[in-house]
């Protein structure tokens, strides 16, 4: 696996929430760099701030202070529509509860992010969707609806949807939390495989110690602060 230039840079990120009359500091000055092709896990206990950190990196939440540079672009300078466009082209999302649209089949769910990218032609879109579905091993379930799939298969669809747009970064917040351990390993293996094949940067959060043995880099977070970074 080759690791290249930084794809994400976080500089002094803080996030403070107002909860009633109390201020909650979810992130306390986090600086972090993720390089192209890295497969990184953010590890921390529940409430440590790992989801908040992922939201900042995924541009679906705003830091209170600090800046985020995503593939050379300062996210803070973008308006909502440009941020939407940036998410569409640069980031793939995998959610804990899959978040598939139940009335659409596998193909249509995977196709969703590509539909709003005018740079992709109809033919290319079809090719990419087919390729992504094939890559996650669901070539034979292309016309199935989510309710006809198992949990693992649904998460594979979500992975295919995240990968179909050829993003620079794929983010997964607790992607295996709703899966049994066998399926969880299979999903992590799939993500590792895709990381190797497609050189896509993967960043995911987990609190499952067993999965951590699989990742190349672990970022530990506790109480809103990084407590150390390691390479296995």
């Amino acid at each position: 696996m080759t690791v290249g230039a930084p794809i994400v840079e976080l500089i002094g990120i803080t996030k403070t929430y107002q909860l009633g009359e109390t201020k909650v500091e979810a992130l306390k000055g986090i600086s972090l760099s993720l390089k192209k092709g890295e497969f990184t896990a953010i590890v921390g206990a529940s409430g440590s701030g790992k989801s908040t950190l992922l939201n900042m990196i995924g541009c679906i939440d705003e830091p209170t202070t600090g800046s985020i540079i995503l593939d050379g672009v300062d996210v803070h300078s973008l308006d909502d529509n440009k941020k939407s466009d940036l998410r569409n082209r640069k980031i793939g999302f995998i959610f804990q509860s899959f978040n598939l649209i139940p009335v659409l089949d596998v193909f249509e769910n995977v196709e969703l992010p590509l539909l709003i990218n005018p740079a992709i032609s109809a033919a290319e879109r079809t090719d990419r969707v087919h390729q992504a579905i094939k890559d996650v091993g669901l070539g034979d379930r292309i016309r199935n609806r989510p309710d006809q799939l198992s949990g693992g298969q649904r998460q594979r669809v979500a992975i295919a949807r995240a990968l179909a747009g050829n993003p620079a970064l794929v983010m997964a917040d607790e992607p295996t939390a709703n899966l049994d351990s066998t399926t969880s390993f299979k999903i992590i293996d799939l993500m590792l495989d895709l990381n190797a094949k497609r050189h896509v940067t993967f960043l995911f959060s987990t609190h499952d110690e067993k999965l951590m043995s699989k990742v190349s880099r672990k970022v530990h977070i506790a109480d809103g602060m990084l407590v150390g970074a390691s390479k296995v």
Binding site: S51, T52, N55, G58, I60, D61, D80, N81, S84, D85, L86, R87, N88, R89, G92, F93, F95, S97, N99, I101, P102, V103, L104, E108, E111, L112, P113, L115, I116, N117, P118, A122, R161
Partner: protein
């Protein structure tokens, strides 16, 4: 936005309707019911509008355009001699009318009052004098026959334009004929029998009034003298209105002019080949009549003073239908708003997902708006089907009712109006879009991470 995206979003929206089937069904049924009610009300209004329109234009012989002396609408009844059109004015107007190709028919009208007698008693009348060819044109016009059969079917006897040369015919309204004690028209009596002069002091004299069709018309002439003439009742007719059905008579222009000892007329009625030309015809008449037009009032049939019954009734009916329309709009806005609000709350994580993968706020709103739109369109289509079916059965069932002021029963007939349906569908769909947009706009502005996590509430 590209077409494929719209197609895909539409497909998704269409399929999403099934996700909350029961709720959407309830919303759809509410819209369908409201829309059906509106269509039925509009169907009634449409029918009444047509009846009143053609009753005014042909039944009342108003024409599409009327020409009268300026001020005569207020003053003619008081001083007809001063507020009527003399021979010179008639000549000028007739000359201009003859040059206008958009005119199908034009005719002179004379109006006046007097007493009609049966040899023993007299009753007040309001007379319309009309040239017989004009009377034939107006009374046999297909639109009049089509829309006012409830009135024309009551006619008894032959129309006055069919009278023999030696007869002075008069058509008498049914109520007035009843007052006169005359139920038979000229054709229904034995004309070979010599007319007898009744002894009015006989106790059963009323039983003999119908023995002949002869009536006398008496009135003051326009130059201030008492005058009277003989007429034969050719036809009994209904004016369609209680107000006028016991006082109206129609006779030839010559007869009425002779009774009033005048050559003047009250007005001209102008019937057009195409009703759409009404205003342009008025403009052309004003132009062609030059300075003389300043002495005249040239008005369309639906001007309040010319067609007060049409204008007054339609104002009421439009208000009524408008009220139903407002209630429908409110039902739709509330139903759709309620449905859309609940839907977006339930699907907030989906909204978060769509926003995460790059869908803008506008696109997310569009997904929901399309759902509301489809739901409404489907409901209105059902509304149209139910409405048309209801109209079919209502029309077939022959329900009769008696609106205030209308003589006799009127069959309840509902006439579907294509343009009202289109317009109502567009309005209802627009309202649905508006209501959904409002309902969704709040959630689309929420923090994406909170939507995804389901913590936005």
């Amino acid at each position: 936005m590209n077409l494929t995206l719209l197609q895909s979003l539409s497909r998704m929206a269409w399929r999403n309707l099934r996700r909350n089937f029961r709720r959407n069904l309830a919303t759809g049924v509410a819209i369908t019911a409201g829309f059906t009610a509106f269509l039925l009300a509009a169907g009634y209004a449409s029918r009444v509008e047509s009846v009143l329109r053609y009753y005014t234009i042909y039944g009342l012989r108003t024409g599409h355009v009327t020409i009268q002396k300026k001020g005569s609408l207020e003053m003619y009844a008081i001083k007809p001699r001063l507020w009527s059109l003399d021979e010179n004015a008639q000549s000028k107007i007739t000359t201009v009318l003859a040059t206008m190709t958009q005119i199908e028919k034009s005719g002179r009208l004379l109006k006046g009052q007097g007493l009609i007698g049966n040899g023993c008693k007299t009753f007040p009348f309001i007379a319309t004098g009309v040239d017989l060819d004009v009377e034939q044109y107006a009374m046999t016009h297909p639109e009049l026959l089509k829309w006012t059969p409830h009135i024309t079917k009551l006619n008894i006897g032959r129309p006055i334009w069919e009278a023999e040369a030696n007869v002075s015919p008069v058509a008498v309204s049914i109520g007035l004929a009843k007052l006169l004690g005359k139920s038979k028209t000229l054709d229904q009596i034995d004309r070979t029998q010599k007319l007898s002069i009744l002894d009015c002091s006989m106790p059963n004299v009323r039983d003999h009034f119908s023995d002949d069709a002869n009536v006398q018309l008496a009135s003051g002439t326009w130059d201030g003298q008492l005058n009277a003439s003989d007429s034969e009742m050719m036809q009994l007719y209904s004016t369609g209105l209680v107000e006028t059905n016991s006082s109206s008579i129609v006779l030839s222009m010559n007869q009425l002019q002779s009774l009033y000892n005048t050559k003047n007329i009250a007005s001209y009625s102008v019937w057009l080949k195409d009703a759409k030309d009404t205003q342009s015809t008025i403009n052309t008449l004003n132009e062609k009549l030059g300075d003389f037009a300043n002495e005249l009032e040239i008005l369309p049939w639906n001007e309040e003073r010319i067609g007060p019954y049409y204008v007054g009734t339609m104002r009421f009916i439009v208000t009524m239908v408008g009220f139903i329309g407002c209630v429908l709009a409110l039902v739709i806005i509330l139903s759709i708003f309620n449905s859309a609000t609940m839907t977006v709350i339930e699907r907030s994580e989906e909204v978060g997902m769509l926003r995460s993968i790059g869908y803008t706020r506008g696109l997310v709103r569009l997904v929901f708006v399309l759902e509301g739109f489809f739901l409404t369109v489907v409901s209105t289509v059902f509304g149209i089907i139910v409405g048309l079916t209801s109209m079919f059965f209502v029309n077939r069932s022959g329900i009769t009712f008696r609106p205030p002021g209308v003589e006799g029963g009127l069959q309840l007939i509902l006439v579907p109006n294509f343009w009202v349906m289109i317009l109502a569908t567009v309005c209802v769909s627009s309202l649905a879009v508006f209501a959904t947009w409002i309902a969704v706009s709040g959630i689309s502005k929420k923090n994406i991470s909170e939507l995804v996590a389901g913590t936005h509430r």
